[in-house]
Amino acid sequence: MEYVIIGNSTAAVGAVEAIRRNDKTGKIVIISNEKYHVYSRPLISYLLLGKTDEERMKYRNDDFYSEHRCELKLGRTAQRIDVQEKRVILDDGESVSYDRLLVASGSSPVVPPIPGLEKVRNKFTFTTLDDAKSLEKALFENARVLILGAGLIGLKCAEGLSKRNVEIICVDLSTRVLSSILDDQSSEIMKQHLEDHHISFYLGRQVTGFKDNVACLDDNDEIPFDVLVLAVGVRPNVNLIKDIGGKTNRGILIDERCRTSIPDIYAAGDCCESMDISSGQIKQMALLPNAYMQGECAGMNMSGVDCIFDKAIPMNAIGLFGKHIMTAGTYTGQTYYESDGKDYKKLFYSNNRLNGFILIGNIEKAGIYTALIREKTPLDTLDFELICKTPGLMAFSRETRAEKLGGVINEYLGSPVGISCVE
């Protein structure tokens, strides 16, 4: 069996680890246009911050490829897929044949069509190690860094730059920071927090053009800057599949076995769209945990073990200047809310299910909420009032707890005394 994987990041690792669980001998070829040992992309901001280094950024140990016997074709780009001949044609004309192919081609930063952008000096995107390295080189004392986009990438970049003695200005079309994962109030809390850490915001504004290194806003404000970071979002890399007639939308469309519409071709990770079970919608969820689990699911199916991944939900854990945010799911339905102006908690629920949540500050045991969404736990099977206040196993029934904690399930539960609790 010959496995070919296009891409060398999280989904690819998930697939390799799964394939090797089932198939110790098959050939695995990894093709990536990046030349690095697999690294964790989200860590590039920590690299700028000095909290990690290239060595520690490695997502798996140095012996990962040899241990899993992967053949690497790094720094090479897959140009097209020949479905008839079942092979992948690389940029230098080499063709790699496959029995099973995984497209884990990731996503690319969106470069907005703003007049004058092409003439801007020192402009960068911020999704790869190379991006981070070149951005770092362009920095200098008291530089004014303009970040376009106050979303996850833009703000992590801002934090990454915060120790660099530079001025950080953030512009976003949205009136809120982190608008994709926070609601109004929580966004305001974070904005305050970020401003306390000397990040200036121009929110609800649009950059209509650049005059060299001056950004012109829609309200005629002008922001001169030295360095520009474009962080307005990412777009899935779908062309390989689209070109051969595979179903794509914004991302590659996959089923719950991570199959594309073309036989023997799978896709996983940021290049895909998949079902968000918290909303029932098909959407792009460019999130590392989902990428791994999709890759793993693809790898299992590619190596002949039937496997379904149908637990994808949007979920984000992000820390900014010491304040942690955790969000998951969809923000619809009734809400449970508590906040002291600094910490924040909001749970969204309807139809006996938890749909989503936003936590800022106290993130203890947040995974218990995530599990309620992921497992679609009926809320009437637990003490919802209690779990809203304090996430914990306490809110579940005694039987469920016994099961979860592996306590003696059968032997003593029936006994009437010695237990102080009766549900």
Binding site: S415, P416, V417, G418, I419, S420
Partner: protein
């Protein structure tokens, strides 16, 4: 109360250097001795509430705690002890009967400690129990007068019902109510594992524990709580409780607050009502009356279960035992004055009854003198503290002993003698669910099994030393005992010679 007549008996000493303020002492003390002071982040203790049960000491992970006897003292003299003085203060305050728990703690002679065992030297060989078989098995029940044979000369094997024990020790009566469910379960499971019997006491038998019936003695006492046909038939033997060593002539009283749903079901009384066991059985005023109950119970169980009659050791115990032996009972249990209790009036506990050693010796002698010793087995109880006490009791004439306090100590009891408060920190003498769960029967039963397994080894060692390889051969073998520091009369009653004779 402006005038404090009584000062705390104990002091809680905390080594602040070692205290890490984990607060386990505070969480584990049902008497609320320990308290956390938030402002100074320190633990403090209220000595006056401490009963010296050692729960906090035992659980303190840094050994930061100890309980010491308070050096505070009254101006005592030989006649007016501190105890006597403080008891007067208590009664002057309350106007009530003093209550206590567990066995008589007073300074009466402990005869077991004044008797020594023999061992073989030269002229008769001792036996190494590690190399040779040693029999500790005993059979309890009435034995025939003589061996009878049929016309072909074969031995007629029909015997009255017998109980087989792997060793001559049983757990004596403690009711579900006086002790916790978990304590009962521990005893039942240990008895089953060891091949001995435990005793329900007068609290009925919880339905969960019917499965240990082969190892259960079901008790019928003056309150007749929890007695019904299935109950009688569930056990291996039936015990009629006439008296208890800790409180001869006194009934029992389980306060209503301890009678929760489970106990109420088991005792067959309404929830929350006091369970009062009268001092006498109101249908027994003579040996003839007793005989009626013995035979009623036998009749009810098809003559398949031996019947035990339990009495407290009192002044004319030998004559009473003789009567019991003639009442049709298969066994007599004699409970000495050191026997434990969940609650008794202090004066009764401390001033009524007889030492078991003397009672046992006189009963055994009396029955032998009357030629009816074979009709009954004798079970001796009332503070058997070790395997040596077991061996001495057997040599004085017992078939078997009852232990209870020792078993509770194995379960964690620290003899703080506060059972009557219902706040046992060790989960034994309490019905408070949060306290009951402190005694995990999985651990408790193992500790009981360990204790008696150890005793069995020791019994074999002592038997081997005496050159005896079967415990039955030791029964009533008073030549194996010598008294030390006993007077002529004591030696005469015990039926033993003085050391050196």
């Amino acid at each position: 109360m402006a005038v404090e007549y009584i000062q705390p008996e104990y002091e809680v000493v905390r080594n602040q250097e070692r205290c890490i303020v984990c607060r386990v002492c505070e969480r584990q003390c049902a008497n609320q001795v320990h308290e956390y002071l938030k402002d100074s982040n320190r633990m403090v203790a209220d000595d006056s509430k401490c009963v010296n049960c050692h729960r906090c000491v035992a659980l303190c992970p840094t050994r930061a705690l100890k309980i010491v006897k308070s050096p505070h003292t009254f101006k005592e003299n030989t006649n007016w002890s501190g105890k006597a003085i403080s008891e007067i203060y208590k009664q002057a305050e309350s106007g009530g009967v003093l209550l206590s728990s567990m066995g008589n703690p007073e300074n009466y002679p402990v005869y077991f400690d004044k008797m020594l065992l023999n061992a073989s030297q030269v002229t008769n060989p001792s036996i190494d129990p590690l190399r040779e078989p040693m029999e500790t098995r005993v059979f309890l029940g009435a034995k025939p007068e003589r061996i009878e044979r049929d016309e072909k000369g074969r031995i007629i094997r029909s015997l009255p019902p017998q109980i087989q024990l792997s060793m001559p020790v049983m757990f004596s009566a403690m009711s579900y109510g006086s002790i916790s469910y978990n304590a009962h379960e521990s005893l039942a499971r240990a008895a089953a594992e060891l091949g001995i019997l435990y005793n329900t006491g007068e609290g009925g038998l919880h339905e969960d524990l019917y499965k240990y019936g082969k190892n259960t003695i079901v008790q019928v006492a003056s309150g007749r709580f929890g007695v019904h046909k299935d109950y009688l038939e569930s056990g291996a033997a039936i015990e009629i409780k006439m008296g208890q060593g800790a409180k001869p002539g006194i009934g029992g009283h389980l306060p209503g607050e301890k009678v929760g749903m489970d106990i109420s079901r088991t005792r067959m009384i309404p929830e929350g009502t006091d369970a009062i066991s009268p001092a006498p059985h109101h249908d027994i005023y003579s040996i003839e009356d007793l005989r009626q109950l013995v035979y009623s119970l036998k009749e009810a169980t098809g003559y398949k279960k031996p019947v035990i009659v339990k009495i407290a050791a009192v002044h004319n115990v030998a004559a009473i035992a003789s009567g019991i032996a003639r009442s049709g009972a298969d066994m007599i249990a004699i409970d000495g004055f050191r026997g434990g209790t969940g609650a008794a009036p202090t004066r009764i506990r401390d001033h009524v009854g007889l030492p078991i050693e003397l009672a046992l010796a006189s009963v055994d002698k009396r029955l032998r003198d009357e030629g009816i010793r074979n009709r009954v087995s004798i079970i001796a109880g009332g503070s058997i503290r070790s395997s040596a006490d077991v061996v001495k009791a057997i040599a004085l004439g017992a078939d078997c002993v009852y232990i209870a306090t020792a078993a509770l100590v194995a379960l964690g009891c620290h003899l703080c003698r506060s059972c009557h408060t219902g706040k046992c920190n060790w989960g034994i003498a309490t019905q408070r669910p949060d306290l009951v769960k402190r005694l995990n029967p999985n651990i408790g039963f193992r500790r009981l099994v360990n204790l008696l397994t150890a005793w069995q080894h020791e019994i074999k060692e002592m038997m081997g030393g005496m050159g005896i390889n079967s415990i039955e051969a030791l029964r009533g073998n008073r030549l194996m005992l010598r008294g030390v520091g006993l007077n002529e009369k004591e030696l005469e009653i015990l039926g033993i010679k003085h050391a050196g004779e």
